[in-house]
Symmetry: C3
Subunit: 398 residues, 3 copies
């Protein structure tokens, strides 16, 4: 077992010169995959100062962004890209992002990752949150811009851990703080793991309330995929008991809610909320399958803390960002006050924490994809699914 | 012909070690001028992280700011400075600029360049832009702060190209993107060119709509000059068919609209709008001539895309920023909604682009200045000019 | 006498490689204390890009933050830490601070220093400042967020000066500009001085109006101390003629206004305003004494320009930030309009300046602490003190 610090604000460590691999570490992992882990700092444009941790397990390459809340910028499995092409081409240093821009949707100025967290205190549509006491008097008022702060906060500590056991395991852990005086204190400790030669990786996120008062938390994993997984006729597969369109626009496409169009200029996003079921391990599943059933991107998620799922269809023109989002969440991306009213906001006692677990897999080859879809179908047919014809009042903010 | 990449966010190139010059490149330009091009990164204060590309053509030195939308910080011709002394002394990294500060004029926190672009989506006075459908219902609402985003967006790509032909040509091209998901996608590709030994340089800017939907664009070249060109009795020369004061304050100085005062504590800015005429090449002209007619700074501009001209008189005290702005524009610096109503906003179809061309020249010596002024006078006397006694309702937002 | 430039944006100097000490400078100071001065740049998290100037006088170590308006991050005397533990762990680069966040208290996102200036144009609670002419018509309107800009503006020039005279003197001077076009132009020139082997340091700040128009200025020294000085039963000692609770919450604790509780979850801050008296040198005094009377932290301040004193009690839970603030000020931290009405805002003529002088001392050992407290008591008993039972209308904004 090897432990290595790539970044520590506390100890002023910022290591962009080390490449951890078999020769440099002397680790004897039973694999012929040329694995490696290293960090670089980007220069130029809005990427200036962004750190990228690259994990190469020999088969799969992942670029992590400590500077952007440990998001996963992009990946590559057997040469197949895991990404989408945002109008914002390169990773954006948060100093270029003003969340309050454009009425509170400035978050979009920095949005181009494969996996982007929304949280920790809140996520979802921008809204003015007014709290009142029992008598109806305003106690506090705060404008909460789109999708919270975590994607634009930097890790102050990044550790790599590499184990030789059982074919090896590469882990990268980042710690990101969201808090300030009189503003609560939430900490994300995020660990991404993969094995040499694997097409899978896992994410285990612990969110801890370091403050002395109870705190609220919301988390949404905005997992965004474009071509070659997305395309005209691509399909979404999942297992759930209920599905509802978010609004009138989503109702328009309800009959095709899990089938994708090709790039469509002028397309307006359509969003579907659902309540996933879980397998015997407690995991729900969402799959994006390409039109030829040759490639699939899978996200599995622990429904004990991520009991809700949002499907974001954004099949606009390629140059505008042709993409879909598979989004397991602790809640739906409505304003927090609405989610609170409907009992979906996490309450963390002082010192308490909540753990989110996700598994990501890229499945290549028709037979493997078929097997995967059969598995998801089996999960779905085991339960009844209601597709609501209109937004559910308890799910969808008006 | 030599091509060299100084900066590429895509390829993570950031070259502050190369100086391109005759010895280092081996280029054989027929000149005895010791030309060079190099880039440095500033450190400290609000300039920390700002890149400066310095072009020295042997006679003229120009400092370009890739980090600030390819603005031209300052220049020097035969030892005569092209600049003004802003209360903000050094180039400002955009991370220190909050455009929303002070009711939407935070742009001024970073303003100290010789040539500063205002655009790409809009420029002009801050305003809340409300769009309504035919029935009068509000479709969108967005606060647009002063002078747009482009001056505070960084180039993600900077290329130098040096040709040996015809006495040589030094070109620096920067690419700056302004866009985000659901926010359009405009790209500025800006090329500045100069010849070894020349006191001239040209700017050719292409603004392209990379999105799938039609887009609006506005551009204003805020060309700002102070001493030794500006001074008590300095004069502005141009050729136009109409001139109008922007507001009541400008009316006060109308009889002296093209003559400058010395530094005047308590002076409030005066702005004059005009419709320039063009020469046989299609170029309009604006000249700032010093009180002794020994030095002149000239801007020429292609009126096919820059049909309007704004003269900004800001002859306040030296320590507050004694300066005048010669500002060719695709529109006047009014709120965009006003410009749209009056047909001055550029409409770009998907994939379409608009090209802005400008030429800058420093003329030194009484005879040369006299010849220049005669040329401008000849242009003016060839057409009638109306000086409107009051703001024009179609030119000047109330 | 040695002078050394650590940072100059003007000359593009940023020296993190030099350590100034006896061997490297050859200075012959009559001390056996291993003094040194050096600068480092932090990397990672929200500290990325923050410069820290460390002064070690052999007995006391101080970390200064040029990037944060020459604040003093933390110190150490004989191994006793001078600091507090903010929920924000490390120094925060101002590019992460949006003063407008949370209704104008975003300043708190970067707050963790031992000594943090609030100013220069204003400080105090966030407020919309409306100015009217004699007829009551609105002349200007500006939202002024919490505690002004200076803590989030960087020094563009940092000089070290070391004298061999009289046992030696180490001085560090930083220059910070607060201004922009049409926004005034205030300059802070701040010098911190200490002698080898001393437990004292002084701060001399000159604020100059570089603009051509009269300008207003407010300054508050937010001196923040936690354990081991603060604790259950710690006491505050001062000499003043009047003390008033800021609001109803402060009234609740009035009988104990100068005694501290231990960490108290759910505690809401209590603030006391006072009018200090001065000694024969013209200095007022504030002392935080630990519960055992073994350690005291003292601030002395020139009451000719810092005539008001604010005591901030914030004895909330440790993890939320257990701290007290000793805050000499040119005014109270009310909205500037209120302070103006009550004659406490500094008016600076063009070119004029105001100088603020403070002395900080750490006193260790029961006898020394006792002597210090006796001295303060003597100052107090020499004058009558009125403790107002309720907020004073001229001191406390409603």
């Amino acid at each position: 077992m090897l432990n290595h610090t790539l970044l520590s604000a506390e100890r002023n460590i910022h290591d962009t010169s080390t490449t951890l691999n078999a020769p440099s570490t002397g680790l004897k992992i039973a694999t012929d995959q040329p694995w490696s882990v290293s960090m670089q700092r980007l220069r130029g444009g809005v990427s200036d100062g962004v750190d990228v941790v690259t994990i190469n397990n020999g088969r799969m390459k992942l670029d992590l962004l400590p500077t952007r809340g440990m998001g996963v910028w992009r990946g590559d499995v057997d040469g197949v890209p895991l990404h989408w092409v945002s109008p914002v081409s390169n990773p954006v240093h948060p100093s270029w992002v003003d969340p309050m821009r454009r009425g509170g949707i400035g978050w979009l100025d920095g949005f181009n990752e494969l996996i982007c967290r929304c949280g920790l205190g809140w996520h979802g549509a921008p809204a003015n949150e007014v709290r009142r006491d029992a008598a109806g008097k305003i106690v506090s008022e705060e404008f909460l811009p789109l999708h919270g702060r975590i994607a634009n906060l930097p890790a102050h500590d990044v550790q790599v851990s590499i184990s030789e056991e059982n074919g090896g395991l590469i882990s990268v852990t980042g710690v990101v703080d969201e808090g300030c005086l009189f503003g609560g204190r939430l900490r994300l400790t995020s660990t991404l793991r993969t094995q040499p030669g694997s097409s899978r990786f896992t994410v285990e996120d612990v969110v801890t309330n370091l403050g002395s008062a109870p705190a609220e938390s919301e988390m949404l994993y905005h997992c965004n995929i474009g071509r070659p997984f997305l395309g005209d006729g691509a399909t979404f597969h999942s297992a759930s008991t209920e599905v509802a369109p978010r609004n009138a626009r989503a109702v328009e496409g309800l009959s095709m809610w899990n089938i994708y169009q090709g790039p469509t200029p002028g397309y307006t996003e359509q969003v579907y909320f659902s309540k996933p079921v879980h397998d015997e391990r407690g995991y729900g599943v969402g799959v994006l399958c390409d039109p030829d059933c040759e490639r699939a991107f899978v996200v599995r998620f622990d429904t004990s803390t991520l009991p809700w799922f949002t499907l974001w269809k954004c099949t606009q023109a390629d140059q505008d960002g042709y993409v879909t989002g598979l989004e397991p969440g602790s809640s739906f991306p409505n304003p927090r006050a609405f989610e609170r009213t409907n009992g979906r906001v996490i309450q963390l006692a002082p010192g308490a924490s909540v753990t989110f677990r996700l598994e990501f897999e890229t499945v290549l080859g028709r037979d493997s994809v078929r097997k995967l879809l059969d598995e998801v179908t089996a999960m779905q047919v085991a339960v009844a699914r209601t597709i609501h014809p209109a937004p559910l009042p308890t799910w969808c903010a008006p």
